[in-house]
Symmetry: C2
Subunit: 194 residues, 2 copies
């Protein structure tokens, strides 16, 4: 990584922190300049516009998500074990950023606002649901899950429990959120076991 | 309702519309004055501050939620029928406001921001989870649901599927969101049936 790339990565780390707690709309070049003690013109050279800053912050979080959740999951044995690894790694992800899963925050901000940010969030979310469905299909193919498993339905329900966990732990400070999510996940797996 | 109350209610209807699509933080007395063609000083007399406007908009949506979801549910026969009515009425609610369930939007905006809005959202959310649990307890007491049903766990999972439905229908424009939510709900009910 060149010095320029390292600088940019550290700016994006800071941007990620801001976006996860107060949202992508709260990101601004001026505010980031203050937080990183860089000049506004220096930051402007990296990002050109608020929208570019938001889009690159989202892309930065996507890479972090791949490294935290998807890549480690693929090292687990195929089948139910890998489905369980996906859940465990998602729980790790939820606690990587101070404000929890940044995609949940982004979804609420942009679901009714057409534009490049919404498009990028939709792509990320579709990729995520497809990743879940793929891991589930593998569990069917090795015989762990029943033949009539609907991988997209499984992905919908997996996504549901992650949203509820985020909600219960972040908004309600519910200490039992993790336990509740695990009971939901175990029931989902049990329903699909061959 | 006096003329003053009617005026205030129509302002709050407009505020609800704004908050459901772009969020509570986007509410401002100036913007609402434009949308309702009232004077800023007139609106200021009603709400005094942006925070009061936000809090009263949230309270207005809570009343609408009670009228749309909770009251009609209590007219259904006790037991599984009433649990199903709660789900059906929640689906109605999700389509009452242009931006869908306003509490989902509010939760993402305030979950990491302490203050009166967060406190009010937490109260609303706890009341909602408790309402679900109460309807479930009734289903246990009339013998429709199993004795070992955990009403709080059921409420967590019910909330999960509503969040996923909101997400799939609003962000992903998924035409099958309703069907997916119903499959999830039916499996949840089936798991608890006596």
């Amino acid at each position: 990584m060149s010095k320029g790339q390292a600088t940019k990565a550290s700016i994006l780390d800071e941007a990620l922190h801001v976006a996860s707690t107060v949202g992508f709309e709260a990101l601004s070049i001026g505010q980031l300049a203050d937080r990183t003690e860089m000049s506004k013109s220096g930051l402007f050279a990296h990002f050109r516009s608020k929208e570019q800053l938001q889009l690159q912050t989202l892309e930065h979080s996507r890479r972090l998500f791949v490294d935290t959740v998807l890549r480690p999951t693929l090292t687990a044995p195929r089948g139910e074990t890998r489905v369980r690894a996906l859940f465990d790694n998602w729980l790790v992800w939820e606690n990587v950023l101070e404000g929890g899963c940044i995609f949940v925050t982004g979804a609420s901000e942009y679901d009714d606002q057409p534009g490049p940010m919404r498009d990028a969030l939709v792509r990320n979310q579709r990729d995520w649901l497809e990743s879940i469905a793929t891991v589930v299909r593998t569990a069917v193919s090795v015989g762990d899950f029943a033949e009539d498993t609907d991988p997209e339905q499984f992905a919908f329900e997996f996504n549901a429990l992650t949203l509820a966990y985020h909600h219960a732990s972040r908004l309600l400070d519910d200490e039992r959120a993790g336990e509740r999510a695990r009971v939901t996940f175990d029931a989902l797996v049990a329903r699909h076991r061959a």
